[in-house]
Symmetry: C2
Subunit: 235 residues, 2 copies
DNA sequence: GCACAAATTAACCTGTTGGATAAATACTGT
DNA sequence: ACAGTATTTATCCAACAGGTTAATTTGTGC
C-alpha cells in the first residue's frame, strides 16, 4: 500500500529515483562520453532536478563510476548463469562466445562505457573496490572449462584463460564497438542480420579451430564470393 | 634559402604551422576525446594563436576530421610497404599481425581516435571522401594472400578477407585499447614487456592455427601455470 | 620603397556548464 | 497535530569554451 502509493507518486521514492538517475546517466554517458555528457540532460531524462543527482549519487565522476560498476555487475551476473560446467568443453566455449556476442548486441552502452573509461585510463575503476572481486570467479569458470578440455583431449593446447577470454571479448567487442567506422571504410553494412550471423559463425569457427585443431565448416561459409576481387565480380 | 629562413622563424610558415596544429590536435583529441578536447589547449600546444586553427584548418569538427584522415592515411601507407606478396601465406599473415600489433603499440593515439569517432557514430568519417578509397587496395592485399594460401593448400578454409582483417585488428586493438580496465579487473599488468610478448604469441598462434589447422606451439606457452587455480598456487 | 595579400595577434562576446545555496515540501514516528 | 528529518525544487554563479571581429605584422611582386 505504501509501496503502491510510492509508485503512483514517483516523487518521494528515493530508491526508484536513484535507479532512474543511474539509468539516465548510463544512456547519457554511453551516448556522449564522459566529457560530452551533460548533468542537466541526465536530470531531465531521469525526470528529476539536477540537485537530485548530487543528493543521491554524487558529482559527475561519482555518477560515472556508479554506472560503470552497475554495468560490470550486470554482465558478470548473467555470465554466472551460463552453466558452462555441464557442457562439453567445445560447446562451453561456443556458448561463451555466443553469449558475449549477444550480450554486447543487447547492451551497446556497455561497450561505449568501457571505451570511455579506457580513454580515462581506468581512473574511476581504480577507485572501485567492488569491481576487482567480481572477476576471480569468472576467470575460474573459464579456467575450469579449459582444463577439462585439455584433459578430455578436446583441446590440443592449454591456453591461458585470461588470454582466451580477452580474445573472445576482443572479437565481439571490436566488431560491434567499431562497426560505424568499419562500415564506412569497408563500404559494407556490418550490422545487418546476415552480417551479424556471419560474424558469429566466423568467431566461433576461429576460436574452436584454434583450440581443437579441427577446422569448422562455418569458418569458410559465404566466403567463396569474397575471394573474388571486385573486378572479377563484374567480369 | 627562403625555406631555411622559414624554418628558422617558424612563424610565417603556413605548412609547418598546419602540421604543428594537426599534431597538437591529434594528441589533444586522443587524450581527451572530442568533447573533452580544448581548442585553446591545441593552440597552446601548437605554439599558435587560437585563431590560427580556424584560419588553417577550420572549426573543431573539421580539425578532428583532418586528424582522423591523417591517421588512416599513415597506417594504410605503412601497410602498403609490408610486401606480403613475396611471403608464403602463413608468414604473410603472421607478419600482418605483427605489424598491426606493433603499429598500435607505437601509435596509441590511433586507437583513441577510432574509439572517439565510433562514439560519434562515424559522423565525421562519413563526410570524408578520401578515406573510403584508401581501403580497397588494402583489402585486395589480404584477399590475395588468402587466395594464395587456399590454392597452395596452406590454408584449410577460404576466409573472407574483411572478416579476417577485422579479427586480426580486433585481437590487437581490444587488448591495447582496453588494457587499462582489463588490467584492473584481472589484476595483471597487461602492458609489461612479457605480457605483450605473450599476447603476440597468442594472437599469431590463434589465427594461424585456425587458418592452417596445425596447432602452433606458442599458443600454449607460459600457460601451464595459468591453468592452476590460485588456490593450487599457494598450496 | 610601396601596394597588396597572406599570416598572425589580441581582445571580445555569448551561451553553457558543473556545482552550490537556501528555501520549501512531504513523510515519519510520537 | 506536531516536531524533525528526508527529499525535492527553484535559483544563482563564476569559470570556461567555442567561435568571431578587427586590427596588426610580415612577406611578395613590381
Amino acid at each position: 500500500m505504501a509501496k503502491a502509493k510510492r509508485i503512483l507518486k514517483w516523487q518521494r521514492d528515493p530508491e526508484g529515483m536513484r535507479l532512474r538517475i543511474l539509468e539516465a546517466a548510463k544512456q547519457e554517458f554511453a551516448t556522449h562520453g564522459l566529457a560530452g555528457a551533460r548533468v542537466d540532460r541526465i536530470a531531465a531524462k531521469a525526470g528529476a532536478n539536477k540537485r537530485m543527482l548530487y543528493y543521491h549519487v554524487g558529482k559527475k565522476d561519482d555518477l560515472y563510476l556508479a554506472v560503470l560498476e552497475g554495468a560490470y555487475e550486470k554482465i558478470r551476473a548473467e555470465e554466472r548463469g551460463l552453466d558452462l560446467e555441464h557442457l562439453d568443453p567445445p560447446q562451453a566455449i561456443a556458448r561463451l562466445i555466443d553469449f558475449t556476442w549477444n550480450y554486447f548486441i543487447r547492451n551497446p552502452e556497455f561497450l561505449a562505457l568501457l571505451n570511455t573509461e579506457n580513454l580515462a585510463r581506468a581512473r574511476h575503476l581504480k577507485r572501485s573496490t567492488k569491481v576487482k572481486s567480481m572477476h576471480s570467479p569468472f576467470v575460474e569458470m573459464i579456467r575450469t572449462v579449459v582444463r577439462r578440455g585439455v584433459e578430455s583431449g578436446d583441446f590440443q593446447v592449454a591456453v591461458d584463460p585470461v588470454q582466451l577470454y580477452i580474445s573472445i571479448a576482443a572479437l565481439c567487442f571490436f566488431y560491434l564497438s567499431n562497426s560505424a567506422t568499419l562500415s564506412v571504410i569497408f563500404g559494407r553494412d556490418l550490422l545487418s542480420k546476415e552480417a551479424k550471423d556471419e560474424r558469429l559463425d566466423h568467431m566461433v569457427a576461429l576460436v574452436l579451430a584454434a583450440l581443437t585443431g579441427k577446422s569448422v565448416a562455418a569458418f569458410g561459409r559465404n566466403t567463396a564470393a569474397r575471394l573474388r576481387s571486385p573486378a572479377e565480380h563484374t567480369a
